[in-house]
Symmetry: C2
Subunit: 235 residues, 2 copies
Amino acid sequence: MRNTAIETEVLAFDIFGTVVDWHGSIAREIRAAHPAVDADAFALAWRAGYQPAMHRVMAGELPWTLIDDLHRMILDEVVVQFGLTHLDETARADLNRVWHRLDPWPDVVQGLTRLKKRFVLCTLSNGNLNLLTRLSKRAALPWDCILSAEVFRAYKPDPRTYLGVAQTFDVLPEQVMLVAAHHNDLEGARACGLQTAYIERPLELGARNPKDVTPHLANDMHARDLLDLAQQLGC
Amino acid sequence: MRNTAIETEVLAFDIFGTVVDWHGSIAREIRAAHPAVDADAFALAWRAGYQPAMHRVMAGELPWTLIDDLHRMILDEVVVQFGLTHLDETARADLNRVWHRLDPWPDVVQGLTRLKKRFVLCTLSNGNLNLLTRLSKRAALPWDCILSAEVFRAYKPDPRTYLGVAQTFDVLPEQVMLVAAHHNDLEGARACGLQTAYIERPLELGARNPKDVTPHLANDMHARDLLDLAQQLGC
């Protein structure tokens, strides 16, 4: 059991998959523009390049790189794989900005609005500030502050990101709760002393690939979605 | 004349004096808590320590320091000057957080709300992220993103701050407009190629010290307040 005398002040949210439906949003755009392409597989392939690309940066193989630029590097490989090499520079740049136009899950705006009354809400995403700002503006996400790997110059699960949130807001690590749909992210946060809330997003990888959303007991909270989280936190 | 073909995308706002009334807010708290103190002079003295303190950091005399900590260093001198040395650690820490509770000028929330429909709105303040976030949450300021000297590790008018806004949002410097009530800030921005909007805040230094708000022709825009700015920008 946590020491309940120490009050939670800040909720830090993972974005891709937790707050926005990257798979559905990308698949919809691909399906509309390129009906012959397997849009579901395209979305998964693009996202699959993400962890290895960040790993190359953190290993020092690539210099510090914003996620917008990593997404573009990966896209240039994915178009080969899916027979879209005819896309020119303008088309690729526009397609890459699909990450700025990802739709939130249906519970998000209302859930954040309720949580905002009681907590400081920030993003903690590997996405860069521009991506997070444009995405949040378009979807009307009511953050108090947008924090990003870009601010800490380290990607999650580097401890500098989780501890960076506590330092930024001048609170103890246990006064911050990471809200995420991914156990490795929550494990990284927990190792730094943050509280953790797991959010079920069974369709994150699309309807063809349902995710196992069984509760892990190590997390402080387990919620169906952000409305359920708000409910459990008494908001 | 500016090239009007290049569209303004981002409005970056100075905060202390431009968006919030630091003088009035501090004077009110001091007057309420310490009626014997000249609250007007106290507010001016505290603020007067700000530029020299930042200068010491930028000259390398002090390490990189958040504004919350500079404010506290200055406060510890100002309490001596005003006979408040009896204030203990808790009282000083609380008083220092008055900078997190500054009230916005009366036009601000409505003005920003109108401007937000058309532009990306961010802060560009020497205040640290925690200060800006807490202040903005309390006053319900609808930023799309909070940027700070803390992100760029340089205080205005260092070019890294102004150019940092353009780089962060992946736009040209001339697609960013700095909105501020201080000509030195606007000059710094202009030297980096940003557009500039001067906001009249004749009472920034209190009613006893009215500010000269005569237009400077070098600025792209001159507005009475943020409602007037919104009006002039067609929002």
